[in-house]
Amino acid sequence: MWGRSAFRGGITPATHKAQTRTQRIRQFPFAPLLEVPLLQHAGRPALPVVREGAEVERGSVLGRADGERSVPVHAPAAGRVQRIALMPSVTGAMVPGIYLEPFPGATQEVTSGAACDLASASSEDIINAVQAAGIVGLGGAAFPTHAKLRMPPDRRVRLLIINGAECEPWLTTDYRVMLEQPADVVLGVRYLLKATGAEAVVLAVEEDGREAGEAVLAAAPEGLSLQASFLPTRYPQGAEKLLIRALLGVEVPAGGLPIDVGALCINVATAAEIGRLLPFGRGIQERVVTITGPGVLDSGNYRIPIGTPLRFALEHVGTAVDLTRVFLGGPMMGQPLASLDVPITKGISGFVAFTSAEYSGAARVQPCIHCGRCVQACPMTLNPCQLGLLARHGEVEAMRRQFHLDACFECGCCAYVCPSHIPLVQEFRAAKAQLRRLATHEVTEEKP
């Protein structure tokens, strides 16, 4: 019923998923000290509700949501609050957080809050419960899920898209979650259907993850019209806007939201977490993370407590001696890390470690030869060649006005195919940053 047309452009890099997708999700131990940021989502940081020195139960609230654009943070372990202070985050910025020392001998029983019963709960109840559980988009953006579900009154959801199209190479968390927790995914979908009143729901999976999608379908009860759409394995198939065009045949208008065309995209791991937590009124304490790459000895998917330092995680799985690069997320859009002394947060779906064999220094940048590979590859049908040329001449206004820079979501296809190795994404990000600076400058100048 729902189409499976491929988007225009895109790339097919080597997926490197074989080594992690066959292994079951393994539970991670507690690190000696957990670093739990109060800001793990896009929005306002949570406000701490515990004091330094306090003893907390696993799953109890450490920080409460600060308004609508915020979610609470729960204790990933039973332990003692050692310190509340600023801590480094993966982006390099310092964020408020709580240093939690897990008790070694504790039972680590999870405290539960108010259960949200699917049968009796109203749409508003479910949305509030989603916020209370601290749920954010687990695909990487970490946008508070309840804010997505609470839509303007004049908007209706025609199609709820459960996004299981894990198009980034190396990552297999969504795949394993679908295979191992199909019942959680299905229950999450039912909560989401009730919360949004969506007319239909479809699970979008790439062709190479077919068996995982079928596992979820098999777990769906009679009467739930959950369908799956198996899309071509092509990066960046999982990008929201491209999924919408593939499934609904319409484009999200520039500057608009999916809901403007009646679509709502929820990551499959987020749906699974809703189905896992809401029936018990629990909050997120851990998440499934793919740790992989040539620099990792024991690659696989791990259920890791939130706040586990990356250094601890890498030491636990073992690494090659000549680790040269680590990035969060996949190799196409992943955030490069300068330091391993940062904690795992809700939005981290995986990290990949490369050794010197995969990276021997940046390739020499050649002049653009106008070959058009980037134009063919751009899934947003932009003109990266022209945008790059303008970027190198500092023409940021023309980039935005004439060449639609704002539509670029930095998927990296253009830089991936560029034979001249021009760092196009970096140039576009720099241009966007400059445009933001210009915008704030204009605003302050207009003030009397």
Binding site: G318, D322, P331, P336, A338, A362, P367, P419, H421
Partner: protein
């Protein structure tokens, strides 16, 4: 184990398709090798020297003009220009003219515009068009008969002529018979399709074997080092126009197979019009560009005073390429103007 090594940070994406400018150029060279070998087999020592001097003069000019720190020779583009330039030349052209044209190709065709990636026109054709303007007699007369018996032992007198001491036009006429296109245009003769396809005719080094050039071109398209739409559009346009005209008046207009297989069309369509720098970006743009070049080839060959028009057609195509780019800007996702 404690991790203490410093981490390298670089912006995403952290993986790459693995292609490079040198990779593309290498494939173009590979695709040109059969045609080069065949030219030497056909015309002997003179062809070998012409190719060598053409290539070396382009490499030397590139080194001289852009050299210094971080030489650009390694990207292979000068080598490709040199080979293609050599293939466009008549085999008995005096070597000093070959060297001079090679220098002009790199200096005026490339460096003056800003080097790799900035040339508005195909540099090899700039070199050739310079020779055509400066030495028209030599450029239209220095042909050799294919498979001459003495071709590997003797050189035509013209080849080693000293600068500005080349024989006059009478000297060239003595060398050989005309090219298939010249024969058709000025004498009404038609070469057999079989000879044209295999290349046992006189002509420029790379004008002869349509089949080997086609193979090389298909290889380029297969490894994705050239945009297939450009040769497809050019050859289709020429084939369709020629068929129509031949259908209307077979006496006056040559057949489509003659038009496709003769002259520099194969070399131009697969190797020169596809120069990425001087051709459009988008798929639509490439079709328009190919169509324009194809029409110009037919127009010049059939109705102008010249027997061959591929060179001018491609140069004119290069000139309008930036305008085609402007007309065929892709419509971004989500921008006003309808669905996908």
């Amino acid at each position: 184990m404690t991790l203490r090594a410093p981490l390298t940070i670089a912006p995403a994406p952290h993986v790459h398709a693995g292609t490079s400018v040198a990779w593309i150029m290498l494939h173009v060279v590979i695709a040109l090798i059969p045609a080069c070998v065949f030219a030497v087999y056909l015309f002997g020592l003179a062809a070998l020297l012409t190719l060598l001097v053409a290539t070396l003069s382009c490499l030397a000019a590139e080194r001289l003009l852009e050299g210094g720190a971080g030489s650009t020779l390694a990207d292979g583009s000068a080598l490709v220009t040199g080979l293609i330039y050599g293939l466009t030349l008549p085999p008995a052209l005096p070597l000093w003219m070959v060297a001079m044209g090679g220098f002009v190709a790199m200096a005026i065709g490339k460096t003056l515009f800003g080097g790799l990636g900035s040339n508005a026109f195909n540099p090899a054709l700039v070199g050739r068009v310079f020779l055509q303007a400066a030495f028209p007699a030599a450029m239209t007369g220095a042909w050799l008969a294919p498979l001459a018996a003495e071709r590997f032992v003797t050189l035509p007198e013209a080849t080693l002529a000293g600068p500005f001491l080349a024989p006059d036009s009478g000297g060239y006429d003595a060398l050989t018979g005309p090219t298939p296109l010249g024969d058709w245009k000025f004498a009404g003769g038609e070469t057999s399709t079989f000879d044209l396809a295999l290349g046992f005719t006189s002509g420029s080094l790379g004008e002869t074997s349509a089949l080997l050039l086609l193979l090389g071109g298909l290889y380029l398209v297969w490894v994705k080092a050239a945009n297939w739409r450009i040769p497809a559009a050019i050859l289709l346009t020429v084939a369709i126009c020629a068929s129509l005209l031949h259908g209307i008046d077979p006496q006056r207009y040559p057949s489509a197979s003659f038009m496709l297989l003769s002259g520099g069309l194969m070399l131009g369509a697969w190797f020169m019009a596809t120069d990425p720098v001087a051709s459009p970006l988008s798929a639509t743009g490439c079709w328009i560009y190919g169509l324009v070049i194809g029409l110009l080839v037919v127009l010049i060959r059939l109705w102008s005073g010249q027997p061959e028009g591929v060179m001018y057609a491609i140069l004119l195509g290069n000139a309008i390429s930036p305008h085609i780019d402007r007309w065929t800007q892709p419509r971004p996702y989500g921008a006003a103007g309808g669905g996908p």
